[in-house]
Subunit: 193 residues, 2 copies
């Protein structure tokens, strides 16, 4: 897999949060990467997360194991931040994060984060904006799940994240929609006709 260029990384970050020229240099100097193999767990239920990720390439799924069954609640792809709850509250994770594809990500850990914030207090505004944005996004997803039918949510996925449908097996899409694979097949048939 080709490694993302600095230019691409900064562009991806800028899509997420405004980055000044000064900040750009600081960030490039301190980038830390991680490659995660396909099927590798970023975190398992019960573990305490030591890092958060910013995905440059690849796809990570978030899921719970309930009675041996995967309940997928999110797919993270390029330009998305993965901050496990466990990273924030230092408690054992209730869910798994597993790479669906070989994934390259920027890595953040508490020590580096604290050190960076001490050295460059201006970073605090960046991390603040990121957390706020994540918050709104999560809240939207929550409410979306409550207020829309699986079929409506499937149509949204087609419109807003068409790449996911190409990258993720059907039965995992069904899990994400909270329905059985057979029900997703029926929805797809209905929409085609």
């Amino acid at each position: 897999m080709n490694f993302p260029s600095n230019k691409y990384i900064i562009q991806l970050l800028s899509d997420f949060v405004p980055i000044s020229k000064d900040m750009e240099e600081i960030i490039i100097k301190h980038l830390e990467f991680k490659t995660i193999s396909k099927q590798e767990n970023v975190i398992r239920e019960g573990q305490i997360a030591q890092e958060c990720l910013f995905i440059l390439k690849g796809c990570i799924k978030k899921y719970y194991l309930v009675d041996g069954e995967e309940r997928i609640t999110n797919f993270y792809t390029e330009g998305q931040v993965v901050t496990p709850n466990s990273y924030t509250n230092k408690k054992p994770s209730k869910y798994f994060l597993t790479a669906l594809e070989e994934t390259i990500a920027l890595v953040g850990d508490p020590d580096t984060e604290q050190e960076a914030l001490k050295k460059y207090p201006q970073l605090a505004s960046v991390t603040g904006i990121i957390t706020e944005k994540l918050m709104v996004k999560l809240s939207d997803e929550f409410d979306n799940r409550i207020n829309h039918s699986p079929e409506e949510r499937y149509l949204q996925l087609i419109k807003e994240r068409p790449d996911i449908l190409q990258r993720v097996p059907q039965y995992q899409i069904a899990s994400y929609l909270g329905i059985k694979p057979e029900s997703l097949s029926r929805i797809r048939k209905r929409l085609k006709s």
Copy 2:
């Protein structure tokens, strides 16, 4: 209604986020209050939120109107922060926030917030911790809703927020659990026997 004392306010805030003695003084000097009547809307669908709240007394429900039907997604009470998405992203609110009881809250608005952060940069760590905590909480609620049955969630409510059951009418509890009032009655009967 009795007005909360400074001591009570600081205690409530301290339960949420550690507050130093210095910070305590700053906060008390700059407190801004708001009283919201029972049934009054804090925000309606389509409006842009101008403020966020920290509840000192009272109860606020968050809900969507879907085909004329209220879908309640949260009850906020004493010691909880209400930050409408609309406050953060400056877009029209997708949901309502309405007081279920007469409510007293501390108020934050963007100008005051910016000004305070400029004057007391140490506040940034407080707001940062608050946002992170809210994020974890919201994420937990989301996942809880996906991974547990209405009955399991009702039992959690009894255990973790027994006051809500006293303060909120049954049909609104049912809405929050995502079920019909009749189904909640059945669950209650089953649990009693």
